[in-house]
């Protein structure tokens, strides 16, 4: 830290992490009831701006953190993937609420059972919906992760029940996808 000669010494990566974690430009991908709790977290009472995350951008090009707030249906999944792909590096993803974490109480023809099967997720905030305190806790954990310079690069594969590198997903073809459907039914 400060020495007698008034020089400030640190690692560049630490400084970058410090700068990034206090200027989170978030993209709110709000699809369902969790949106209410997201709004109350963002509003004055809980004031997410204290953590430098009070500036939502509605363009994925300008944002660092993708907040996926609410149930994602199979019809919506390609849209979510496109939004994630359009974001510039470095980027992080927060799964807000149980529906985005695991599918929650849904187990039906229309719901994606956890967005981590489509895009890599950094922080999971469970709850139906999570309380603002819970969200802020998740946000602080995300800040720690940003400070450490870590990003999630794995997807959850329900067939093997393990993670796999995200780039495998990119080669996942429609033909393979149809084969998967047929083998599972």
């Amino acid at each position: 830290m400060s020495s007698a000669s008034n020089f400030f010494t640190s690692k560049l990566s630490d400084t970058l992490g410090w700068a990034r974690k206090y200027s989170i430009f978030q993209y709110p991908f709000v699809t369902a009831c969790c949106g209410m709790e997201y709004m109350s977290t963002a509003a004055g009472h809980y004031d997410v701006d204290r953590f430098g995350a009070g500036f939502p951008r509605f363009s994925p090009r300008q944002s660092d953190v993708l907040f996926v707030v609410g149930t994602i249906s199979h019809k919506m999944a390609p849209v979510l993937k496109t939004v994630y792909d359009q974001m510039c590096e470095p980027k992080w993803v927060v799964a807000f609420g149980v529906c985005t974490c695991t599918g929650g109480f849904y187990d039906n023809y229309s719901t994606v059972m956890g967005i981590d099967t489509i895009i890599p997720v950094d922080i999971y905030i469970p709850g139906c919906p999570p309380r603002p305190e819970n969200v802020i806790d998740g946000l602080m954990k995300l800040q720690d992760k940003i400070q450490r310079g870590e990003q999630s690069r794995t997807l959850y594969d329900p067939r093997t029940k393990t993670g796999r590198p995200a780039h495998v997903q990119q080669g996942y073809t429609i033909a393979q996808h149809i084969k998967d459907i047929e083998s599972a039914t």
């Binding site: 199979h74 999944a77 390609p78 187990d107 956890g114 099967t117 329900p158 599972a184």
Partner: protein, 164 residues
Amino acid sequence: MTPLQRIQEKFSKEIIETHAFRGDETVIIRPGALLAVAQFLKETPELDFNFLMDLTAVDYLFFAGGRIQKKSRFEVVYHFYSLKNNQRLRLKVPIDEENPEVDTLSDLWPSANWYEREVWDMFGIRFKGHPNLKRILMYEEFKGHALRKDYPFNKRQPLIGPMN
């Protein structure tokens, strides 16, 4: 004269069954007479059912755990409301499994357009004469009709990503 009595008087041959409970009247008619009955309900000045409140379908496969076997597998259910008379009427039309088709009401009530698309999407019942009969909730790639009782409850058809 109640709407039920008027229909009974005019379409006695087309009625399969009627019942009424505390002023809520239900008529079950043959599918061939649907358009005529609907037009009669809407365009008779004293009835004036100007509001199609709901249009949905029921799949009676495995009804009551399979103990009750209906003649027709499906029923399309219409709920009409007359704002002028503050009166409701429920109309049901049995639909066969082999040829699940019935006339569209979208020419009489424009709101039927999207309802009928939903019924097509979820139950696979076609509406003859519908201007734009395609899926409204599910994606075009989706195979089958999700709310049919023989659609496997654990069948998944994701657009992207693995089966889950």
